[in-house]
């Protein structure tokens, strides 16, 4: 118990690491938390094909999270490993977008969430391939190939559901309306985003938003779904401000390392 408490304190002090570390952590945590969410479908997806689809997407995202976490650990330079970053931080030290921690809900909600974030990551990684940070550019070039496949899958399902039965149409519109307020955060540039743009490490978010919007509108048109109105609500998961949902997810994610510190296999 003493040892565990010590571990938490030692790795829980996240305060002054550099801006680039925090930016990479945003990308890492977005992939990591989304992978964990999608993994929750294992064993209970609506069909075997979708079980494979969601689990394979989760696996790609987990692989991307590891690439980002390893880089974040190097940038931080305090000897933390990818595992310590993934498993031994407090909730407020996770910098994922709030969108990806939202519960799976029904299949329509999972697909709506996935479509919104896949389309964002697709455009972001396309642009990050030209980052002034060579390592980020390399990771993005790898990740964008997988993001493309994910974006095709989630858009395909949104179209099938939206342009499906009355029930699937109603549920997918409801899912879209529920997830929509969380997209504000993706494009609302804060100080860290501005610093990254100035250093030519990250693309300007308004440019990403324009590209994102074009594709979102095209898919929504095919899906016969209405684009929800812009919500005034804002939530900044990327600054460590999370809702209660993340706590339950982290309890699952971190269980093994909290119960058996240092366990490995």
């Amino acid at each position: 118990m003493t040892e565990l408490a010590g571990t938490i304190i030692a790795v829980g002090s996240d305060a002054p690491a550099g801006p680039r570390f925090r930016y990479v952590l945003r990308l890492a945590d977005t992939s990591l938390i989304l992978a964990q969410r999608l993994g929750e479908w294992s064993g209970k997806a609506p069909a075997l094909e979708e079980e494979l689809g969601l689990a394979n997407t989760a696996l790609d995202l987990l692989g991307q999270a590891r690439l980002f976490l390893n880089y974040a650990a190097e940038l931080e330079g305090r000897g933390r490993t990818e595992d310590e970053l993934a498993f031994l931080r407090e909730q407020s030290a996770y910098l994922n977008f709030a969108l990806v921690e939202q519960p799976n809900g029904d299949f329509a909600q999972t697909i709506a969430r996935q479509f919104l974030i896949d389309t964002f990551l697709l455009e972001l990684y396309e642009a990050l391939q030209h980052s002034a940070d060579a390592r980020l550019a390399e990771i993005a070039a790898k990740a964008v190939k997988e993001a493309r496949y994910h974006a095709r899958y989630s858009a395909g399902w949104l179209i099938r559901l939206g342009d499906g039965t009355d029930e699937s149409h109603m549920r997918s519109q409801r899912a879209l309306d529920t997830m929509w307020p969380f997209v504000r955060e993706l494009f609302d540039a804060d100080e860290l985003d501005a610093q990254m743009v100035n250093a030519k490490i990250a693309p300007p978010l308004d440019a990403i938003e324009r590209l994102w919007s074009v594709r979102i509108d095209e898919v929504l048109r095919q899906a016969m779904l209405k684009r929800p109105a812009t919500a005034p609500f804002k939530w900044y998961g990327k600054r460590g401000e999370h809702g209660e949902h993340l706590g339950y997810l982290l309890a699952d994610l971190q269980y093994m390392q909290r119960a058996y510190p240092g366990a490995s296999w």
């Binding site: 075997l48 094909e49 494979l52 689809g53 689990a55 394979n56 997407t57 696996l59 790609d60 995202l61 987990l62 692989g63 991307q64 590891r66 690439l67 550019a137 390399e138 990771i139 070039a141 790898k142 990740a143 964008v144 190939k145 997988e146 493309r148 496949y149 974006a151 095709r152 899958y153 858009a155 395909g156």
Partner: protein, 176 residues
């Protein structure tokens, strides 16, 4: 159509490769698709021996999260140890990222013989990949009257199809 695709110069010859080492790597099989060697798959980026005698092999992962990557690295090291090289370093090479375009013509033939349809498209025009996939030919009867059953399959690199001509299901190697 298929013959043309096989003849296309899809593989990128790894720079600075030593033919002796390559011959050994030709025997290292992908654990999930044992019909293919790591060289058929196009994931070996270089194989060389340094002045100090260390053998260095550069390997690119196919998918970021592919669990076979670790096994492949160990298998490469083991094969080289068996061939008498004691000092072996397997180095992961991320950039430029591996693409299904790098599967060799021989690899594509082996895939088809094993019952897996090789990638039907090049990734040279990546935005095209956001559209519906092109026709995929059945690896058994070569009919293009095939349906996609699932975008994802038994491993990260495959999707699941069925042939409406010979009625057999088959795996398809995704374009990425």
């Amino acid at each position: 159509m298929q013959a043309e695709a096989d003849a296309a110069p899809l593989a990128v010859a790894p720079a600075g490769s030593d033919p002796r080492l390559h011959a050994i790597l030709d025997t290292v099989l992908d654990p999930e698709i044992p019909a293919l060697s790591v060289t058929d798959l196009g994931i070996v980026r270089f194989a060389r021996q340094t002045a100090s005698g260390q053998v260095q092999v550069g390997v690119s992962p196919t998918y970021s999260g592919c669990p076979a990557t670790q096994i492949i690295k160990s298998s490469i090291a083991a094969a080289l140890h068996l061939a008498g090289f004691s000092d072996v370093a397997v180095i992961e090479v991320l950039a430029p990222p591996w693409t299904s375009d790098w599967i060799t013509a021989n690899g594509r033939r082996k895939l088809r013989a094993y019952g897996i349809a090789p990638p039907a498209e090049s990734v040279a025009t990546p935005r095209r990949l956001l559209q519906t996939a092109l026709d995929v030919a059945c690896p058994r009867c070569a009919s293009t009257a095939t349906d996609r059953l699932s975008e994802f399959g038994s491993t990260p690199c495959k999707a699941l199809y069925r042939c409406t001509n010979c009625l057999e299901p088959f795996d398809y190697f995704k374009c990425i």
